[in-house]
């Protein structure tokens, strides 16, 4: 892994900064911070080689709470700042932390391009379907009808799906988890870190103050098993309290449908097996909506490709090597004298 050798796994606490964490009590961000610190420990991240970069928002306060290098940027621009960091030093292990407004409202364009370029970053999108820091306006991921200070009679726009957007943008790694699913989230973060390239992780996060319980319809303890399908490469898409439900493709309509194992002759053989390299399947999974369908969590898509900054760095290195051979590496006089010159004497 391009980076400096990992160190012996540290205690997750070693990745906590000396700053007092200032999210609202009960905010989902705390759980995510915990999972990230655990991940850093697990991969033995070197604090000095790790950088957290964010935009603006509650989520974007994240870097202050991690004991690595950090850059709290401007609203929506974290992917651009992170790209610059990787251009200057491809060996740094860079994480981007963003909110749904930061990443998908003002920052949508940079997210598109950082994903398309496949810059090697872990991009964590804390989706609470609201603008937290500015006190609760609806966001591009808010459901239709969201009542907020800027939409007192409910929002009318249909929301964008972070995962569907990322797939459309050409992302090579798209995953999903939930703030409260600690171990699931931990697993997803490990996969994201392992992937070389832009790894987008959409994390459903509860804003207890402005959008409390908005994900209950699929995260509430009792219904979760039936409202979530945890996808794993090579495993059938089975879910439900009794693992008695599965997703299958209706080949007539080309749409997914929920089948009950055992019922009218449905066997595991009829159930789709998750292939994380299949873009079309990833799109279908990302589109599943409760209550009719379970929400797909886990690595929806992973199909690695060369990263932008390494390819660029290789070209520069190659050019420098050629210059080395020519013996005029960094020779500024040669640069100025390239092309036509004439002597006046």
């Amino acid at each position: 892994m391009g980076y400096a050798v990992p160190i012996e796994p540290l205690d997750p606490k070693a990745y906590a900064s000396n700053q007092e964490v200032r999210w609202c009590p009960g905010c989902g961000d705390y759980a995510i911070l915990k999972a990230v610190q655990r991940t850093l420990a697990e991969v033995g991240a070197r604090r000095e080689n790790t950088v957290f970069i964010s935009g603006i928002g509650c989520a974007a306060r994240f870097p202050y709470y991690v004991s690595t290098y950090g850059f709290h940027g401007i609203h929506g621009r974290a992917p651009a700042i992170a790209t610059g960091v990787k251009l200057a030093n491809p060996n740094l292990d860079v994480w981007v932390v963003s909110g749904d407004g930061d990443a998908l409202s003002i920052g949508g364009n940079h997210l598109l391009h950082v994903l398309r370029r496949n810059v090697d970053l872990q991009i964590l999108l804390f989706n609470n379907e609201i603008y937290g820091l500015t006190k609760g306006q609806y966001s591009p991921t808010s459901r239709v009808g969201t009542v907020s200070p800027s939409t007192p009679s409910g929002s009318v726009e249909s929301p964008v799906s972070a995962s569907a957007f990322a797939l459309g943008a050409g992302a090579r790694f798209v995953a999903r988890s939930v703030d409260t699913l600690q171990s699931h989230l931990f697993g997803v973060l490990l996969r994201a870190h392992e992937n070389r390239g832009a790894s987008l992780v959409e994390i459903f996060q509860n804003c207890i103050v402005y959008n409390k319980g908005v994900f209950d319809e699929f995260t509430a303890r009792d219904i979760a098993p039936d409202a979530q399908v945890h996808v794993e490469h090579g495993k059938p898409l089975i879910f439900g309290k009794e693992n008695d439900k599965g997703l299958r493709l209706n080949t007539k309509t080309l749409r997914l449908e929920v089948a009950r194992l055992g019922e009218d002759g449905v066997t595991e053989a009829d159930i789709l097996v998750h292939d994380e390299t299949n873009h079309a399947l990833a799109n279908m999974l990302a589109a599943l909506q409760p209550p009719a369908f379970p929400v797909a969590l886990g690595v929806l898509y992973c199909d690695p490709a060369p990263t932008y900054e390494t390819q660029l760095a290789e070209r520069v290195a190659a050019a420098e090597a050629r210059a080395e051979e020519r013996g005029d590496k960094g020779d500024l006089n040669a640069l100025l004298r390239s092309g036509h010159t004439w002597e006046v004497d």
Partner: protein
């Protein structure tokens, strides 16, 4: 044999000129830029001083023969020091009616116009919007006209060249060049060598173009005998000995940035988004990977400036560049660099505004934005380049200040400087001062806003440094810990620190000098940026004139030209105080003027030109005269 002898005898001596302005104009397809470049090179070899300016059409590729498809290349060369591309054209080469129509206005009365009469067809005349053929009616009465069917001559020359008619016609620019070479007594060899090299792959074309060049030259020699067209001689200028090259502002800026980065011991990460005229710098640097340059074409200007900031944060020197609307988009990002106190160089190749304006035309109207154009109290350093070659030094200075003071620096150039070329006496780079950056490494009570007591620059520690892990951001931070702080007194302190850090630069830059003229007196003409050429020529012309006329004690008028726009040189107030009047010519409605009036409460007067074109020397002479007379 005798004939030639007779001709030889008949040949009148060449008329000597101190300087001349020639403009080659034709259709975009006629290769006028290339023609002009060849002439410029031959002229440099003839030891003339010179300045050139290309004038491309705004449209990418307008239909052949249209006025908006005309491309031109102007060169001013002489036996004396040349400072501008010239006010008026002495000799205009017009390859078609549209070229004549668009460029005639700039030809001086009595000037020479050489037209390819073969191109003056019904169709072309219509396309150019001529009702009647100007070669037939009185339109050109005020000029000396040389009608030559260059097209036909070229075709005749190339009958059995193996080139198709179409290909052969493409050689007519070389025919024209040959003629002009004869007219100004230029050597052809450099161009012939160049043609053979360029078209090595295609011997027919190499031979054809060379033949056309020679034919045009021969035509001149013979024409002389039976036409009134004089031949000229422009003696060599006194030019400082040294190795020279021709350079435009774009190249010089790119090289200056590379040199600056190397002097600072940093990698150059250049992040930009294409826009006219700034794009050319991106193109130039993209070719310099062997100098370790990384270029990044971002998705927009905001991403470009933010990526440059990220690069600086990670320990490179991040540079971004743009023009017009693109500069406005960088505002928020530049403010972030000010607040995080990271080095950043922003190159602004100014163009005509507001909004999209006239993208291919020049202007100096972004000074206000550079100095004042951000939210909050947000001081930074502003520099301006005065000429194409000056971009080299100014770019180096921008990198030096950005890295030494941990601040964004805006480098103002403009569309004229970016495209214009001039001979440049090449410096020996090894003799230029280095300013290596030392990253902060000492973990002992480190925090990111520790400052150098003298420069007030904050400690630059970069990711990868163990023990110095820290966070920066756009929120206000404590001057004592670097942590976020809303403390009122601290905000005042940080606001003052940011301001004083920049003002302190004034002690680290040269005192302002006087370019030309007395150290005190009746009138100082104060300029910045690309007005350097016309101001300095106008002032030296008038100096000479006044001294001649009435032995005016060394000339009554002085020229002061600023490189440092913010902070201003520490002695500027005192310097300006020595003059009765101050005139500030700018290609805007009075921006440096505002700065000087506010800073020094001086009743400086402005001379404003906002036409998308540089000042002419005459315009500035007139303004100076009126000030001195009134």
């Amino acid at each position: 044999m005798e004939g030639t002898a007779a001709a030889e005898r008949a040949r009148p001596p060449r008329q000597t000129l101190e300087s001349a302005v020639v403009r080659f104009a034709g259709d975009s397809g006629d290769g006028m830029q290339l023609t002009g470049n060849r002439f410029a090179r031959a002229t440099a070899l003839a030891r003339n001083d010179l300045a050139t300016f290309p004038d491309f059409p705004a449209e990418i590729r307008a239909p052949a023969g249209t006025t908006y498809g005309v491309s031109a290349y102007q060169i001013n060369f002489g036996a004396r020091v040349i400072k501008t591309a010239g006010d008026e054209v002495d000799a205009l080469v017009a390859m078609n009616p549209a070229a004549l129509k668009v460029n005639l206005a700039d030809l001086r009365p009595g000037g020479l116009v050489i037209v390819d009469s073969g191109a003056f067809t019904e169709k072309n005349l219509r396309k150019a919007g001529y009702e009647a053929d100007p070669l037939e009616d009185a339109s050109l009465a005020a000029y000396r006209v040389m009608k030559v069917d260059m097209s036909q001559h070229t075709l005749d020359t190339l009958t059995d060249s193996g080139l198709s008619k179409k290909e052969a016609l493409r050689c007519k620019n070389m025919w024209a060049l040959g003629l002009v070479y004869w007219m100004f007594d230029r050597k052809r060899q450099s161009s012939i060598d160049w043609l053979n090299e360029k078209f090595a792959a295609d011997p027919h074309v190499a031979a054809g173009t060379t033949a056309a060049l020679n034919a045009g030259h021969a035509f001149g020699e013979t024409a002389e005998i039976f036409t009134n067209v004089a031949a000229y001689e422009v003696p060599p200028a006194h030019i400082e000995p040294g190795l020279y090259r021709s350079v435009n502002g774009t190249e010089a800026t790119a090289w200056g940035l590379v040199a600056g980065a190397s002097f600072a011991g940093l990698r150059l990460v250049f992040c930009s988004y294409p826009i006219t005229p700034a794009s050319a710098t991106l193109h130039a640097l993209a070719e310099l990977k062997d100098y370790g340059v990384t270029t990044f074409q971002a998705e927009d200007e905001i991403a470009a400036v933010c990526a440059a900031i990220g690069a600086s944060y990670a320990g490179a020197i991040g540079v971004t560049s743009s023009s017009g609307p693109g500069m406005s988009l960088k505002t928020e990002g530049i403010d972030l660099a000010i607040s995080t106190e990271l080095p950043l160089v922003v190159v602004n190749a100014q163009r005509s505004g507001p909004s999209t304006g006239m993208p291919t035309k020049t202007e100096q109207a972004d000074l206000f934005q550079a100095v004042f154009g951000r939210h909050g109290d947000s001081p930074l350093a502003v520099l301006a380049a005065r000429s194409p070659s000056d971009c080299f030094e100014t770019a180096i200075e921008a990198v030096r200040l950005a890295t030494k003071y941990m601040t964004p620096v805006i480098l103002l150039s403009d569309s004229y400087i970016a495209n214009a070329s001039e001979p440049w006496a090449l410096p020996n780079v090894d003799t230029l001062p280095r300013f290596p950056v030392e990253f902060y490494k000492d973990p002992r009570d480190y925090h990111p806003f520790l400052r150098d007591a003298e420069t007030l620059a904050r400690a630059w520690a970069i990711p990868g440094t163990p023990g110095l892990e820290h966070r920066v951001g756009g929120l206000e931070k404590s001057a004592d810990t670097g942590h976020i702080s809303y403390d009122p007194a601290n905000h005042q302190r940080m606001t003052d620190l940011r301001a004083n850090k920049i003002l302190g630069i004034a002690n680290d830059i040269p005192e302002q000098t006087i370019e030309l003229g007395p150290a005190r007196g009746r009138l100082a003409v104060v300029g910045w940026g690309s007005t350097y050429g016309p101001i300095s020529r106008a002032v030296s012309n008038l100096q000479a004139e006044f001294q001649a006329e009435y032995q005016a004690e060394d000339g009554d008028v002085s020229h002061i030209h600023l490189r440092h726009i913010w902070p201003l040189p520490r002695n500027l107030e005192e310097l300006l105080g020595r003059f009765e009047r101050i005139l500030v010519p700018e290609m805007n409605s009075g921006q440096l003027l505002t700065l000087l009036r506010n800073q020094f409460l001086l009743p400086a007067e402005g001379l404003h030109k906002v036409t998308g074109r540089p000042f002419t020397i005459a315009e500035i002479e007139t303004a100076i005269r009126s000030r001195l007379e009134s």
